[in-house]
Assembly symmetry: C2
């Protein structure tokens, strides 16, 4: 995967004029006017309103702090209010992005050489497979379609594993607009996944980086919001809702461990002391200030962003429809995600590095091959289109180029 | 170890009036007036002076950034200038504190179940043993005296390991004022350690958190500065030199790996994408601004701090000498470190939780039992005294109480 990213960056470097549908980066308009000092001060005011002296508040931002974080109350409140997740502050750990949360959760749940397996939606986000690789955790890919992971296949895999003395300990999914697939798990699939998790005794690792992009009124409840049995560990990030440079994420882990003597969150916080000690309180303060400024609501905080990303995604799929009519017969088709940053497109030929090079050099348009996201050698005839950081005119021009590329090189 | 910290925190909570020589925290005087906004702006100016537009500079602080960091040039320059370490920018990775650096280095050097062993100075900093535990890396304790690790014992351990098919892959030391021991490795010991590392083919992991506290003119060259054979991986932190809340550390890893095709630093940066992705550029900016403001010199940046810590340490040992004369015969003695935050004191009886409780409840003075820092069950009759965050009058009062405690409870 790192090789693929390396090649992509290298192609982008050689073709700076190309329009790139490759990076899933946030739109720069949300970064340019970001006044981090203002939000830090806003959080300090919030602490003072909560009873700290100004000196105590300032010191909290520059000292070592609790491993579990200093904005847990704000985050748990926002999750309760916006997503119906019954998260207590004690069940939340603030992490250095979602990535550290994944690493900590995997380390807490898996012990080496124990026959325990991590199931992952296939194709899968590289952060989870990378963290599993770093910890030598065996992976089992389970096919993901546009309406969610194949629960039947997952259940069958649980039984197969058990027969060979292994156990699927957890299953990673991004229910709301996955990266790279772009799909969203149906409500029925969510319920079935939780049932199977209960029956087959595994935890669900829910990564909710893109849920905020759903249209108002069109949201589905997160797996954690549906989690009556304590089967879901919920992971989130402020990289998209706020900004990536904060490197602040969180995990809700309200499972009781060690015979109920403590929460999984406590174990994660203890492990975190051996990874990063604590998440920079300076960074947490900026995120905390952004939450406070928006009434403690993630939804308010992300409203504008959600609108822009939905607009971009609509424009991308509309452009595909209008520039590439009747290409289904030629073996070209794509999904129409209702949110997220990504569209998945199928080709009748391999979407490999050679084809990417041709697309960049002759047509000035870039995309991401999907094969590196697959764990079982699949996906070689798929590509990912991302539109998160582009402007409408770039999407329009880029899609014209992309259509020309497909018409001339694939369909002919 | 976590249990011990928990007990210590609990005792401190029950005796808030006690003077505590337990925490190795920085002195608050350096935190209260810290203007993080100012240093951020200073770093932005530095980037603009370097050719970026103001918008590009600001964006660098809020976007995702390179996994290896954005202040590498400033850090490598400071290490060259202040410590004679021939570090190139490419050999430096900026990490979420020294803790993440340790985790990354251990992960890069050790593969599970490969018979490779990490030697650690004994007693040892809990961060390194914790990271090794997280990665299931076997540990071998090697005795550390006030003048450094026992190199003869280390060399013998290398041979013993080899005979049983194992290999000591690396050895962790804090040459300049270790935590908890407080000792400083002699120049002779440094040279011998590097010789043995070459002969027995292991790497030295040098943790240099406290080197800055040496008196001006009394510094010894770091192991990395003496490292002709590329045997030393050098780890540092800005937690003490700047402030802990930044969570910024660094590692110098200029070893060639994979047949010279890349540096160990490249491998660490790749692994870092699976742990924290990158270190918050917001935090890096504050540290970068502090370096720029002090002419790019770590030594200038830390001059005042070094003076305060030396003064505190002198006062502590002077107070011990004056309040506890002629106690050697009673089996009480302590070392006299020339820097760092810590003094190690030997008792004729176990320095355990019961004794700590008595010290807190009856005498109003706290300290840290040393046994939890030992990997081989040793150290039970030792305690650690830290004076970094106290003021002179607190040290004076605290040492009077501590002397009374020893006189009445131990010597009688």
């Amino acid at each position: 995967m790192l090789d693929s990213i390396g090649f992509l960056n290298e192609v982008m470097g050689r073709h700076p004029e190309a329009i790139s549908f490759a990076p899933g980066a946030p739109h720069p308009v949300f970064l340019d006017d970001l006044d981090t000092h203002h939000f830090t001060d806003r959080f300090l005011d919030h602490l003072v309103e909560g009873g700290l002296s100004r000196r105590q508040a300032r010191r909290l931002l520059v000292e070592y702090g609790p491993s579990r974080g200093i904005i847990n109350e704000l985050v748990s409140h926002a999750l309760r209010r916006d997503q119906g997740i019954a998260a207590t502050s004690a069940s939340v750990v603030i992490t250095v992005g979602a990535q550290e949360a994944m690493l900590l959760v995997l380390r807490a749940l898996f012990r080496s050489a124990s026959g325990q397996v991590l199931a992952v939606a296939n194709p899968s986000f590289v952060g989870i497979t990378g963290a599993a690789h770093l910890l030598d955790i065996p992976l089992l890919p389970v096919s993901e379609r546009d309406d969610g992971i194949d629960v039947d296949a997952l259940e069958a895999a649980c039984r197969t594993a058990r027969r060979s003395g292994r156990h699927i300990r957890a299953c990673y999914v991004a229910a709301d607009f996955s990266n790279p697939g772009g799909g969203r798990m149906s409500l029925e699939c969510r319920h079935r996944l939780l049932e199977v998790a209960e029956r087959e005794d595994f935890l669900v690792l829910e990564d909710n980086a893109y849920g905020f992009t759903a249209d108002a009124g069109d949201e589905l409840p997160s797996l954690k919001a549906l989690d009556g049995g304590g089967r879901v560990v919920h992971i989130g990030t402020f990289a998209k809702v706020c900004f990536p440079g904060a490197r602040v994420g969180y995990v809700v882990a309200d499972q009781q461990v060690e015979n109920g003597s403590r929460l999984l969150a406590d174990e994660l916080a203890a492990l975190k002391t051996m990874v990063t000690v604590n998440t920079s309180p300076l960074s947490q303060a900026v995120i905390g200030g952004m939450l406070v400024e928006h009434g403690g609501s993630l939804r308010e905080l992300s409203r504008q962003k959600a609108q822009l990303y939905r607009r971009n995604l609509d424009q991308l799929t509309t452009a595909l429809d209008s520039h590439l009519p009747d290409v289904g017969a030629a073996g070209i088709h794509w999904n129409r995600p209702e949110g997220g940053f990504f569209v998945r497109l199928h080709l009748p030929v391999p979407a490999d590095d050679d084809l990417l090079e041709k697309s960049a050099a002759k047509y000035g348009v870039l995309w991401t091959p999907m094969a590196p996201f697959y764990l079982d050698g699949g996906g070689d005839r798929q590509l990912r289109l991302s539109c998160s950081y582009l402007d409408p005119d770039q999407i329009d021009t880029g899609m014209r180029r992309f259509a020309a590329f497909l018409q001339k090189e694939i369909i002919r």
